[in-house]
């Protein structure tokens, strides 16, 4: 093997190395993806979640091609190690994202893991899952003082406009 400087320096290389090698990396991503399809929300290390995200969205794209497509079925049976998730993928997840073209997943960073390694954690989920949302939905409270005052102001202006209209 030629020992060149190019091999030692990795400037600009975007492909991540995970696990023991490329095969190990694919196996790890396959396990993560199976877990994601089963539970629809998983919590892992940030870099692993980032890698799985691409494969999760590509899998949905393949699933959208339909049950009967041979390539789609091969992909699904390769990537999902638990075979009861293959019908779930085609009948639940693909119809859920029919109207969307991209971004079927949501990734959010979590506080670092409590262990000695303090690893950077992230939570990855498919949108539209039945669980409580990660980002709380902000409800506008109509009963706050400012909102009540603004409501009164709007009603006054509407009355004035109506009064003017009647006068004219």
């Amino acid at each position: 093997m030629r020992l060149t400087l190019q091999m030692l320096i990795s400037h600009g290389r975007v492909a991540r190395k995970m696990g023991l090698g490329p095969e190990s990396r694919i196996n790890m991503l396959r396990n993560l993806l199976t877990g994601l399809v089963r539970h629809e929300r998983i919590e892992t290390i940030y870099t692993r979640a980032d890698e799985v995200r691409f494969y999760a969205e590509k899998l949905i794209d393949y699933a959208k091609k339909g049950d009967t497509d041979e390539k789609a079925m091969k992909m699904a049976s390769f990537w999902l190690t638990e075979k009861d998730l293959v019908p779930k993928l085609f009948k639940v997840l693909a119809p859920r994202f029919e109207t969307q073209t991209h971004s079927y997943t949501r990734m959010a960073r979590l506080p670092n893991r409590e262990n000695l390694d303090r690893a950077k954690m992230a939570v990855l989920e498919y949108k539209g899952n039945p669980f409580p949302p990660l980002y709380p939905v902000k409800k506008k409270n109509k009963l706050t003082l400012i909102n009540q005052l603004l409501k009164g102001y709007r009603e006054e202006r509407a009355q004035q406009a109506a009064g003017k209209g009647v006068g004219n």
């Binding site: 089963r38 539970h39 929300r41 638990e82 075979k83 009861d84 998730l85 019908p87 779930k88 009948k91 639940v92 859920r96 959010a108 960073r109 979590l110 506080p111 939570v123 039945p130 669980f131 409580p132 949302p133 990660l134 980002y135 709380p136 939905v137």
Partner: protein, 176 residues
């Protein structure tokens, strides 16, 4: 009379021999010509030059030891302090910490609040326990969507074809 002279002559000869031998041993007899003219190195070894050679160790090692980098002076406490407290060595101040608007615990701006996430985790764990109880075993994922309903809620028009997971408690405020 004759024996005495012979004795004296023998004594003198032996004394001279002893002297010459001593001189030879001491190496001080260079003024005298050798008894036999020999071609080659001098008979006596010359130990001093060899010792000198051995005293000087192999030149490479000694040279490098002599020329190694070594501090010339003790670093003063002022110099040490400026090095130890330089900007690069101090811990950087983080200005991206803010209180979470929901619970008030501190969080980083680009990270989810730990407390609120723990809350959500606990509820999802209970929902998943309910789902496992409904499925009854491993590897039985259904081919329909799932919806979670709390106490006193009836399935709406959208939840018609979905599997309903019931949780025996009031709907929490943070779960739309």
């Amino acid at each position: 009379m004759m024996n005495l002279v012979v004795l004296v002559r023998n004594l003198r000869r032996s004394l001279l021999q002893i002297e010459s031998r001593i001189l030879q041993a001491a190496g001080l007899d260079r003024q005298q010509a050798p008894a036999l003219a020999l071609n080659g190195p001098s008979l006596l070894p010359q130990p001093q030059q060899e010792q000198e050679l051995e005293d000087q160790q192999p030149p490479g090692v000694l040279d490098s030891i002599l020329w190694m980098a070594v501090p010339k002076k003790r670093r003063t406490i002022e110099v040490n302090r400026t090095r130890r407290r330089s900007e690069t060595k101090l811990i950087k101040v983080k200005n991206n910490i803010e209180p979470c608007p929901e619970c008030g615990h501190l969080k980083q701006k680009h990270v989810l609040c730990g407390f609120c996430y723990r809350k959500v985790c606990k509820e999802t764990a209970l929902i998943r326990q309910q789902i496992n109880a409904m499925e009854g075993g491993p590897l039985r994922a259904p081919t329909v969507e799932t919806v979670v309903l709390y106490e006193g809620e009836t399935p709406s028009q959208q939840d018609k074809d979905k599997r309903i997971v019931e949780r025996p408690r009031k709907r929490p405020a943070w779960f739309s």
